[in-house]
């Protein structure tokens, strides 16, 4: 069957990994926030900020890695805002998150338009190019699948390792997991719940911003309004699917990327008979189904969505 051929082609997997890369950043970011007990619905807006700031920095003359840094810092800034609203102030995480999305998106758009009032075709930057590593790129199958990617994809994979290492092997990770489960346990051990949570949200948001930056600095080389196109929300679903574990988060993002890549190819094949929207729905519907399947087994960070106040009854 030709569908099997699709699945067996290296290019298909290259596409899956490419589509998954921004999601890997995003889902890791959301995971870090949620492990610390805070839902970050600001993700969609933080993606926009990352995409805009990273691109803008490079366009203004910063190097590519400089752009990455700026994007991460901008993400962390909005993370800080979300952190202040939800942690010491204890405001509803849903509303603050949606507010951050509105704020981050509109600030980015406004800034872009104010800086570039007269563009009719968006300016381009010199984006990350696929890495061409001598021997590895020539390996059969693996070569084209993995080594058609840019350094940002490898950065994403490195982040998966880093996040799992930090979460499971370091005192900091221990504290983050604890604060997402029972903040009073952390406070009773003399650690600051506020600092841990805000720090985690900032780090997580920086990761999310990298997901956005990937879109303008690696997947493409210009910034467009609306180009995030719901990718952030997908990450929110993927974290639950991943049961809040970095390894599964990677798996989830890759699966989603594979579905999406497959969907595009399927639409190319049989698009004449089935409305295009049906294909576009598939990844969302599969996410919901996957969620239902893992729902019973997943154990939530118990303090997720719960604000913590010292000495509150």
């Amino acid at each position: 069957m030709e569908y099997i051929d699709i699945l067996l082609s290296a290019n298909f997997w290259a596409a899956a990994i490419r589509i998954a890369t921004p999601l890997i950043f995003g889902v890791l970011g959301a995971l870090v926030c949620e492990r610390a007990g805070v839902l970050n619905l600001g993700i969609e807006g933080i993606f926009v900020v990352g995409a805009m700031c990273g691109w803008m920095a490079v366009w203004l003359g910063a190097g590519l890695w400089g752009g990455i840094l700026i994007a991460a810092l901008a993400g962390a800034f909005f993370g800080l805002l979300h952190g202040i609203l939800t942690v010491p102030l204890g405001l509803s995480q849903h509303v603050s998150g949606l507010g951050i999305t509105m704020f981050a998106t509109s600030v980015s758009y406004f800034t872009y338009r104010t800086a570039l009032p007269k563009v009719s075709s968006p300016p381009r930057i010199e984006a990350f190019q696929p890495l061409d590593i001598p021997v590895l790129s020539d390996l059969p199958f693996i070569g084209p699948a993995l080594f058609q990617q840019t350094s940002m994809t490898f950065l994403a994979l490195a982040m998966v390792l880093l996040v799992s290492y930090v979460l499971y092997r370091t005192p900091l990770g221990l504290a983050i997991r604890a604060v997402g489960d029972n903040p009073s346990a952390v406070e009773a051990q003399g650690l600051s719940v506020f600092a841990l949570r805000i720090g985690a949200i900032m780090a997580g948001s920086a990761l999310m911003a990298l997901g956005g930056a990937f879109l303008t600095m690696s997947a493409f080389d210009a910034f467009f309004f609306g180009m995030i196109n719901g990718r952030g929300w997908i990450c929110i679903a993927l974290v639950v699917f991943a049961s809040w574990r970095p390894g599964k988060a990677l798996l989830g993002a890759l699966l989603f990327g594979a579905f999406d890549a497959f969907q595009i190819r399927l639409q190319n094949e049989v698009g004449a008979v089935i409305p295009s929207q049906v294909f576009l729905m598939i990844p969302y519907l599969l996410s919901i189904i996957a969620l239902v399947l893992v729902a019973r087994k997943a154990d939530y960070p118990r303090a997720l969505l719960q604000p913590y106040f010292r000495g509150q009854r």
Partner: protein
């Protein structure tokens, strides 16, 4: 060091004045982007005010924009009361609109006193049914409804596009993906000539009143609150928790569906896939600004609509990028959020004391 201490009693004047102070703060902060874009700040304020309240037309625009926000705000507030995190009002709005159009664009012909209740009912059923899915997934299978409602928004939007490009496409629409227009019998009348404000607003206000009574004075409201605040105690006390969730899901979805009905039957006249600029998501914001109170929802919806309409109009008058409108709304939201803190907490600045060295355990 800053400390937050819970406030035990809040003077009502204080609670009343704060949102106003927050609104003013937001406007002051809005000066930054306005100035950055080269606009004249004081003139801008005048334009914002004029754009929102300056004329009968502006006022009507403001209320027309507030109408769907009242519905979605109510939808969210009912659901959140039961801690059913419905982020899917956007999708429910669209299916509500789709249902209204399916019935009201010529499939049935009847006088308006039949058609209007019919499309309202259809929209409510459609929205409620859609919300039933995540509710059941939550209660029966334990799937997180934040995620399912969020994802269903995308599915619904694609479904609406599919319908508008397929079976529900207007044959007279020159190929545009839009539905046939609502028949005049199925149109909510305008309240004033040459103004867009329509009877959807009245339905919204009546809904707010009904929800207010339901939450405050009815057994259902009591059970919804109890379930939301402590499911296991509610279950223990014999409150039918699952059916309460289902009830809440249905009511919430139905209200969001009404937003869709009101937009197609009152404002737009037919359905396109971009009928809502995120009313469902803004509904979450409205509901929370209102502290989940149905009456508050009306106030918050009008506030958000006023800021948007005013700032949008200002952007044109000043020649500033029109993205400023969303920016000012977002800034107002964040200011109001922060101010809510002052209602709940006293803020004390504590000078960190010089601490003497303290030795670890004795030898």
């Amino acid at each position: 060091m800053i400390r937050f201490e819970p406030r035990s009693n809040v003077s009502s004047l204080f609670a009343f004045a704060l949102p106003i102070i927050a609104g003013i703060t937001a406007l002051v902060l809005a000066a930054i982007p306005i100035a950055a874009a080269g606009g004249e700040v004081f003139a801008a304020y005048g334009h914002i005010f004029k754009g929102a309240f300056g004329s009968k037309f502006a006022l009507s625009e403001l209320l027309a924009r507030a109408t769907p926000l009242i519905f979605t705000g109510l939808a969210v507030s009912v659901a959140f009361r039961a801690k059913l995190w419905n982020i899917g009002a956007e999708g429910q709005l669209y299916v509500g609109a789709l249902a209204a159009v399916a019935i009201g664009s010529g499939a049935i012909s009847a006088p308006s006193y039949i058609m209007i209740p019919l499309i309202i009912l259809a929209g409510m059923i459609a929205g409620g049914t859609l919300m039933l899915v995540p509710t059941l997934l939550k209660t029966k299978l334990g799937a997180d409804e934040v995620v399912t409602t969020l994802l269903l928004n995308f599915v619904v939007l694609l479904f609406v596009q599919m319908m508008l490009e397929g079976p529900m496409k207007d044959p007279m629409g020159m190929g545009w993906p839009q539905s046939e227009p609502m028949t005049s019998a199925a149109t909510l009348p305008k309240m004033f000539a040459r103004m867009r404000i329509h009877w959807g607003l009245v339905i919204a206000l009546v809904s707010a009143l009904i929800i207010y009574i339901m939450m405050k004075r009815s057994v259902w409201g009591f059970e919804i609150r109890a379930t939301g605040e402590n499911v296991s105690a509610a279950k223990h006390a014999g409150i039918p928790v699952t059916s309460t969730f289902i009830k809440v899901g249905l009511i919430s979805g139905a209200l969001a569906g009404l937003a869709g009905v009101s937009e197609v039957a009152g404002l737009k006249g037919y359905l396109t896939a971009d009928i809502s600029p995120g009313f469902g998501y803004t509904g979450v914001v409205v509901a929370m600004l209102a502290g989940l109170s149905p009456v508050g929802v009306v106030v918050a919806a009008v506030f958000i609509a006023a800021v948007f309409v005013g700032a949008d109009s200002m952007s044109r008058a000043m020649g500033v990028s029109s993205y400023i409108a969303d920016l000012v709304v977002a800034m107002s939201l964040i200011c109001v959020l922060v101010s809510s803190l002052f209602v709940c907490f006293k803020i004390r600045f504590v000078r960190p004391k010089k601490t003497p060295l303290v030795a670890k355990g004795e030898a």
